[in-house]
Symmetry: C2
Subunit: 259 residues, 2 copies
């Protein structure tokens, strides 16, 4: 059964895109057929893989506008890495928010478009924008589980309260089957008191402590450098902290069902 994972957190800059690209790549490296879907109008998952598309190319925008059925397969791009595929985003996705406001069943557009091809993949990871927009709601309606990157910083920790309220609402009104896979601490820096404090809080404060992954993603410049050369860190520098941490995260994902 395909695991469809929304990677989301309204707080900006917590490592959502980095997680979609690098966890996705690590899963594909272990032999799992993996699809990445970029649902952020900033199209960072797309640019982070060097797959920028022009206005004419098919992107996720066309799928949620549902101009024609059966377009999803045509929108899938193969990447340089064998089992890693991508449905790209383009800046015109920013317009979809307003254009879909009055559409019938507007929150299920992504699900309708992608369900036909879901069973070709073991994992589908979906990147989201740092806001609780109709685009993010579309992703929540489609996903079977939710992965929450949380930067080990005060604002990102405080953001969890509002985020969990939102998740409760989504479960009641949009997708009762959505389960939380867990919270992953990111940008961890052992040298910094603030970072250690927040990790301690994640480990001790309910309900976060029961959801926290053992794997911690350390702050690591190779991750940023890999985005500059448009490669996932596991294919850029195998021995780096970034590659080690995201490979460990992939292993923990495989052993951990969604709660």
């Amino acid at each position: 059964k395909t695991r469809i994972i929304a990677v989301a957190n309204e707080k900006g800059g917590v490592g959502k895109t980095a997680m979609v690209i690098n966890l996705g790549a690590a899963l594909s490296q272990k032999g799992y057929q993996t699809l990445l879907v970029d649902m952020d109008p900033q199209h960072n998952t797309t640019s982070g893989l060097g797959a920028e598309v022009d206005d004419a190319a098919l992107s996720v925008y066309h799928l949620i506008k549902a101009e024609q059925d059966g377009q999803a397969a045509a929108a899938v791009l193969k990447t340089k890495w064998e089992k890693l595929h991508l449905i790209p985003a383009h800046i015109d996705l920013a317009g979809a928010e307003i254009e879909l406001i009055d559409a019938e069943g507007r929150e299920n557009k992504l699900k309708q478009a992608l369900m036909p091809l879901a069973d070709q993949y073991d994992f589908i990871l979906v990147d989201t924008p740092p806001s609780l927009s109709l685009l993010t709601v579309n992703v929540f309606a489609f996903a079977t589980e939710l992965l929450v990157p949380c930067q080990t910083q005060p604002y990102a920790f405080r953001a969890l309260t509002d985020l969990f309220d939102t998740i409760d609402t989504v479960k009641e009104e949009i997708n009762p089957d959505l389960r939380i896979t867990g919270i992953v601490a990111t940008f961890f820096d052992q040298q910094t008191i603030v970072s250690r404090d927040i990790l301690e809080k994640l480990k001790s404060v309910a309900p976060y402590r029961d959801l926290l992954f053992k794997t911690v993603i350390r702050s690591n410049t190779t991750i940023a450098a890999s985005s500059a050369v448009c490669k996932p860190v596991v294919f850029y520098r195998r021995g780096s902290h970034g590659a080690v941490d995201y490979t460990a995260l992939a292993e923990e994902m495989l052993n951990r069902p969604a709660l």
Copy 2:
């Protein structure tokens, strides 16, 4: 004449909130009467100053819903620091987006609410969410100038193209008087190649090079630590890199008109 400054960048986590709080505090420390306005539903400027408000308290949400005229003055909170005032945000601001969709003159709600008190201040700094929502458009309609924090990382640099396209549209359709004060490089780390590369690009690539401030905000854990104790860094540790850089930024702001 009051300088009304929107601090904006759709890319998440680039230091918008940190800039509003710390630049605002540095300006107030130099004797300028300064008002901070939190227009992000994540209410980080509010929580970063330890000023969280409950559902019943007056916040920016009530001002843009324009329930009563003349409420702005009542919404202003004094902070512990003499010349630094705040109009707080609350999570209910997230609802304003949908609630204002059909309102007449919806993009000018903030301007209408705050113009009456603007001339009591030398500077008004407005924090924005990491998205191009109606809330951000309200801020662009109210502001006289725009300050763009840009993290010295590839995604943040790439985000500038879309951001500048958006600014052109805002100038044409919403506020022709909006001028760009400049771009400020943030999270700079001399030790990291990626960070140095991006700073070089900001210094050399048009149109960014003509807008780039000389002051660079270095990556500095004291800034994050100061948000944990709800104090601006200039009032938390005077000698830290964060305090030095934000004081320098305040000085450059004073000497630099908006282009």
